[in-house]
Homo-oligomer: 312 residues x 2
Amino acid sequence: MELLKEARNGNKRAIARLITLAESEAEEASHALQQLYAYTGGAHIVGITGPPGSGKSTLTDKIVKKLRKEDKKVAILAVDPTSPFTGGAILGDRVRMSDLNLDEGVYIRSLGTRGKLGGLSKAVHYATKILDACDYDYIFIETVGVGQSEVDIVKTADTTIVVMVPGLGDDIQAIKAGILEIGDLFIVNKSDRDGANRLSIELQMMLDLNAVKSEWTPPINMTVASKSEGVDEVVEKIKNHFVYLQESGELTVRRRQRLETEIIDLVIQKLTTYMTKKMSKEGSYEEELNRVFNKETDPYTLVNKMLNESLK
Amino acid sequence: MELLKEARNGNKRAIARLITLAESEAEEASHALQQLYAYTGGAHIVGITGPPGSGKSTLTDKIVKKLRKEDKKVAILAVDPTSPFTGGAILGDRVRMSDLNLDEGVYIRSLGTRGKLGGLSKAVHYATKILDACDYDYIFIETVGVGQSEVDIVKTADTTIVVMVPGLGDDIQAIKAGILEIGDLFIVNKSDRDGANRLSIELQMMLDLNAVKSEWTPPINMTVASKSEGVDEVVEKIKNHFVYLQESGELTVRRRQRLETEIIDLVIQKLTTYMTKKMSKEGSYEEELNRVFNKETDPYTLVNKMLNESLK
């Protein structure tokens, strides 16, 4: 396939086209995906999450710039939770105004949820696989840690970075409780603000209370991303974590788990598409629905009937 | 079924047991659900959403107290987004310390996501249906408007209330953009705080910019829920909206749509359970997964094979 070849030759337009095709589950993409899977596994996949306003994008940009100085090929997937009502981005349609866009060795893409069940994880899955097969050394997946689906995505990375910031309200900081367990690396960004040391200490205390799960002790780094302060250290920690993953064998464990999750997601996604199509096609479904609405039958009886008709 | 009869007689313990059975998809619940569906349709279902810290719980409690003075039977379903990592509540395990618990005419239940795909909407669906069939006049579904799934749930109510509060950061207020379109009634709570009038004016301006979709103009109410200020007016607006829904015929339209969504959700939920069971049972799946992991085949080929083996 010509497109696949061009993408693997580093043509960013071909890569973009391939991701779009995969997202829309076009038939021509399906063959390309099957072929390119063999080339995956080389990229270090790094998830970055944190509350809105923690400066994740700036931090990611600075990390990427540092890696570019080492001539690494880097991709950024910015997961933008879209409103299920307008289709627009919840956090405002922030076009990433970055000089990174002009860099031939950097690929940036925004991924929205578009209100579809499983749509986000599917989009991230395809984009990651394609970029991985196109020899990107690092793939950063940046999400806002507000909803479960966003956190689920970050959880599948090789290395997960949790960005905190001093001075957010209690409610938002409470999200910490759930996020502590996924962080391989914690960052207190905007650390020139009041409360940065306190946040760092609190975080350390909470991490110390957590049961030890592995030989990796998640470090806490202080950064002021806007001034590039502390960024070099973060890059070093990202690399250290990858070395740890490789040497401990945990990389294989994580990636095996990720593969399993991905396959289950794909199956559910395909089943959903199949059922939705089936239901919109069959005129009799409309009739059945009316019967339920008029209380001549009930939803559970209808659902069982539909499943019996679909499953072997 | 004895349990169903007791629940319909107003036994709160029987109701609680029935909801628990339904959530766990126990066989004995399935028959009860089929039977009780015929009794549904009488309750006014009210969704309440807003950012963390907007005082939704206090407001809901005050609204419920007002309705209790009119001798209405009221249920509150508090949807608590749980962390996918700990199983605990993201926003802290706030037990609702309310004297409403002691009121025989009030049923309160917390529903968590428990990290399961579709688990939350399923739990809300079953609880709503059961309470509706047990002759509750009002069912309040209270959620934190952070994730898409939470918002999806509120969207299915007859009447949706969006609670705002002055003085939250820009990032959180940006959620407004998506939420404007679902609100039938807007509330500026903690309206004794600085910025309440400004928020109300901004909100009005944004609502005015929205295309008119119906003859109902969403009102904006100012409240100080903690002091019960403005609560009576909110209750009046809730009732007005229901009258509007009935007289305009929109109630039928909304409920028909909700039923359709519910049925699709149930189908997907059952399919997911079916596939997950199937995959964990078959020893050959483990082998197939290993083959994918070792790049002997690819995930997409495996997924297609699994679907071909399952679907008629």
